[in-house]
Amino acid sequence: MSDLMTAPPTGPDLPEARLRARRAHLMAEIHGSPKPARRWMLVAAPAACLLAAVIAAAVIAAPWIDSVKPNPTAQVLPGDRAAALVFLDRLAAAAGVTQPSTPTEGRYLYVKSRIAYMEFTDDGGELDELHDREIWLPLFAGGRGRLKEAERPSDLGVFTAEQVHADLPDDPDELLAKIYAESAGKGHSRDGQAFTVIGDLLSEAMLPARTTAALYQAAAKIPGVELIADAEDAAGRHGVAVARVEQGERREWIFDRESGEYLGERSYLVEDQPYGKAGMITATTAVTARAVVGNLGDRH
């Protein structure tokens, strides 16, 4: 008999038929996955989405039902396409002014956010616990990235020059074309995936001012993008949202109404779905800190 102190035992093996069944199941699940593919170029992690403030408020208001979490809801406001174009244009114009160039050699972009996910279930969805997400992205080739989510750190590996200095065109049309090309085959639709990609870049990336401006202008060219007059992030801050509806779910990028600062994201249903009613919040995030730091692990 083999010595199990130094070598693995033989088996057990999953019978072939069961293996095939589990594989088919996995492929079907990820094909219809309601979670968007949220990784593109500089963005080192899946999108964070959440519900915190709303849940906290609900529990405080009704502590006796804390064992049954109510699904927080958002008021479904009408979107305004023309207003979105004006607002994005304003953000693009301000991008060059509000982003001073910082020396980046040997430094890291640090972003902290509060996030929570809604997982879709047959019962209509269940909330993940609200938790912190912290990410360190090297701003120089050869640096390591780090992600810490729900207290579990993961090493994002060494970043190449390509990953650090994404080769993004400054022309909005070219930029959008590149994003469409990179997004081919991902997400539910070309436009939905492009909206996701730009949102990820806004939340956790440091781009040259010209590129940031081009991203806003590219977003304005995506069909279906509209402005929502009021939105609340996971930290309870109110702002105005640039949004797009995909398969009955609206995703919002929330900005400070005055300064145009990016606050966070929110998603909710705008139509009744098998897993929830219109207004049910499916994601909420809030960026709570953002800094360029000198060492991996530094927070300011």
Binding site: M1, M5, P8, P12, A17, H25, L26, E119, D123, L156
Partner: protein, 221 residues
């Protein structure tokens, strides 16, 4: 595995996930059976691990060799808190085709009875270890990950892997010696009213454990 493959996985390429499953699902299944000492939930652990891998795909490092350490790290978390993972993916699990809708595989199971007995004895001994030590033993010895890969899978420093593995091996050695010391009592004159069947059962268990762990090499790494 190429960096391009890692990039495809990170980007949510579904074909890449199919390939990932083909290459590593069996290892995840074995890890589940070894850890729990029981195949009952192991298939679900496979599904949960890959569903979690899909959800957490951006946490795969862009550079490196096999993604197996990353997957086994996810499997470790699923195994540590299977109920939580099952809750997260409850809807997805409800759509798994029922086992009885599949071809009967009883023959295959029967063909594995011998392996199963050996495995049962080994996993029983492993369950006497602390969970963290058992995880390191399974990853380093049975999955044959090197220290760095096991450290990556578990999210702990390499030194911790080293010390846990050392502790796991010492503990297994002690367990085996305890079995050896206990042996003559079981097989000697029956001073206690033990029935013959129990005696035989104990002796069989002792023999299996001895066979699994009696040859205890010094640290091989």
């Amino acid at each position: 595995m190429t960096g391009e493959m890692r990039a495809r996985i990170r980007a949510g390429d579904q074909d890449a996930f199919g390939d990932l499953f083909d290459e590593h699902a069996r290892a995840v299944y074995r890890y589940a059976v070894w850890t729990e000492g029981d195949p009952t939930n192991a298939e679900d652990v496979v599904s949960l691990t890959f569903l979690e891998a899909w959800r957490l795909r951006a946490s795969l490092r862009p550079d490196g060799e096999s993604p197996r350490p990353w997957l086994l790290g996810i499997a470790t978390n699923v195994l540590r808190n299977r109920r939580r993972a099952a809750r997260r993916h409850r809807a997805a699990l409800s759509r798994v085709p029922a086992a009885d809708a599949l071809p009967d595989f009883a023959d295959e199971v029967v063909g594995r009875m011998h392996d199963a007995a050996q495995l049962a004895a080994a996993t029983a001994a492993l369950r006497a270890l602390r969970r963290a030590d058992r995880e390191v033993f399974l990853l380093c010895v049975w999955h044959q990950l090197d220290y760095a890969a096991a450290a990556e899978a578990l999210g702990v420093p390499i030194g911790t892997v080293r010390s846990r593995l050392s502790r796991a091996r010492s503990r297994l050695r002690v367990l085996t010696e305890a079995e050896l010391a206990q042996g003559p009592t079981v097989t000697g004159t029956a001073s206690t009213p033990t029935t013959e069947s129990v005696l035989l059962e104990e002796r069989a268990a002792f023999t299996r454990t001895q066979q699994c762990f009696s040859i205890l090499p010094e640290e091989t790494r």
